[in-house]
């Protein structure tokens, strides 16, 4: 089976105040198969966010290769990266990142605008997806009128509406209480099981990470316990 995501010997260095700069990732390799559920664990500063941006095709590696759906993101221009994100990846953020003063349906329909889907079809699919995450009764509510858990479920619906093969969740429970966090994780697990979507959850919370069948531990820009290629 072709892996959905292939990360080969990836480093990412940020230029900073002269010299070598900051090396956020120091040589990381792993693959994620279609339909896998993976947790990436690590303390802050371990390179989690950098890795998330690479997996999400928001950024390119300094060296090494990141392939998503078989395509090397270093070879794609900004336009192609944008359509790759739109088609293959759904993002779930710690801060939800919903558009304020915008009804839930419109928030969920947002990625479909950039996929070139017509308005009527956007509305239909956004509704259906909101119903699938249990928010049929909250279609026209604005983010401020929703609880934290409901907001995160709207964000999950937005991540799913384009039917991506990969959902990247960055600390999805970080802004929620434990019970609500469990609910959101339950939802992600259910969607993973029912829809066969690969889910990558990035977290520093071991309890949350324990819900994933596979865990990758990141420390100081390196995977812990993984064989380090070339060293």
């Amino acid at each position: 089976m072709t892996p959905l995501v292939e990360v080969v010997d990836v480093t990412r260095r940020y230029p900073a105040g002269g010299g070598e700069g900051v090396e956020a990732l120091a040589g990381v390799s792993f693959t994620i198969d279609p339909g896998e559920f993976v947790a990436i664990i690590g303390p802050s500063g371990s390179g989690k966010s950098t890795l998330l941006h690479l997996l999400g095709a928001l950024d390119r590696p300094t060296t090494g290769t990141v392939r998503i759906g078989g395509r090397d993101i270093a070879q794609l221009d900004d336009r192609e990266l944008a359509s790759l994100r739109n088609a293959e990846i759904g993002f779930v953020f710690q801060q939800f990142q919903l558009l304020a003063r915008t009804p839930a349906v419109a928030n969920v329909a947002l990625p479909l605008i950039y996929a070139g889907v017509g308005n009527a079809e956007r509305q239909r699919r956004a509704r259906a997806t909101l119903e699938a995450v249990g928010l049929a009764h909250r279609l026209t509510h604005r983010p401020a009128e929703l609880s934290g858990g409901e907001q995160q479920r709207v964000a999950i619906a937005r991540a799913l509406v384009t039917r991506p093969r990969l959902v990247l969740a960055d600390e999805p429970t970080g802004n929620l209480d434990t019970a609500t966090g469990q609910e959101v994780m339950g939802l992600l697990q259910r969607l993973h099981a029912e829809e066969g979507i690969a889910v990558v959850v990035i977290t520093h919370d071991l309890e949350i990470a324990a819900l994933a069948p596979r865990q990758l531990r990141l420390r100081d820009g390196l995977l812990v316990g993984a064989p380090v290629a070339g060293r």
Partner: protein, 394 residues
Amino acid sequence: MSVAEAFRVAVTAILANRLRAGLTMLGVIIGVLSVVLLVAVGSGARAEVTSGVEDLGSNLLIIAPGSLQFGQAPSRSTFTLNDVERLDRALEGRAAVAGNLTSGETVRAEGESAFLSVLGVTASFDDVVRRPIARGDFLSDSDVATSRRVAVLGSSAAEGLFPRLDPLARSITISGVRFRVIGVVEALGGSFGVDRDAQVYIPVTAAQRLFGIRTLDTLFVKSPDRDDLDRLSTEIERELQRGSEQAEFSILTQDDILGVAGEILDTLTFVLAAIAGISLLVGGIGVSNIMLVSVSERTREIGLRKALGARTRDITLQFLVEAVLLCGVGGLLGIAGGVGLAVLADTFTPVPASVTGWSVALAFTTSVGVGIFFGVFPARRAGRLDPVAALRHE
């Protein structure tokens, strides 16, 4: 993302922040409104002058004493009735000749009195300088020949002197001399600040006797044929130089007057439009400023949109369309306001205002142009934001 889609997104964004959108538009609204309104006032003034000149009667030559140049004191007139007769003879019925003299006088009638322009005129005056009679008759040749003490009243003069009575066949007193009213002129309105309805016409001979003078102020020649004016003008000039006591005089056509007045008013309109244009420019800079604020306020939104698949072009287009929409809608509101105010001013104030198509079109295209011009910079800045940095932005 299509342009139609960009419009939808921009409308949503504008509606999500109505107050700010309204305040931003205000600058454009005021700019466009002033362009439309001020140009309307300028062209209103022009239209009034034009109709005022045309109201004098068509194909008219005005013969005034002196050389009529700026910075020169008006010359004293030495035109006399002889000049009217001489021109009349010389032009042999090809053109009508009239003359007048004017004096401001207090006119009394049955307990009422008013300060009016008293015009001593020849009998041809009503034809030559268009004074259509509403009731009764105008002065006749025999009235002039015999210095008969009869008068014709302008419409407001008639109302002022005889508020409740029929003025015909009643008496008025000018400088202590009684005149019998034989006619009333139709209402004509003002022209060049002269209220042509507050005038009293008496035989020029009677006027000369009354005021103790033997001169006329102005001569008028009316030709039935417009193409004849130039030739007439030359003929009149020759005739007057040969026989008149008036050494220096000017012959003006309506086109001469319109040309000079039109030039002045065109300059005025242009200056007004330029001033209004500056306020439109300031409004545009306001839009640019707000768009920049909006881009930095919405950095996270931009990052999010990019993460969800928006391309640089999509974001740029969204913000550009937003700026153009603000300016375009502001422009439409400004046009509505400008047209409304112009109509109000024209109806309820003495300020003439006529809205011109070109000013509306110019104001609208300028405001949309301003939107594009001042929207491009913030929009490109929005489009170029790095999604990772934008998402992290607090």
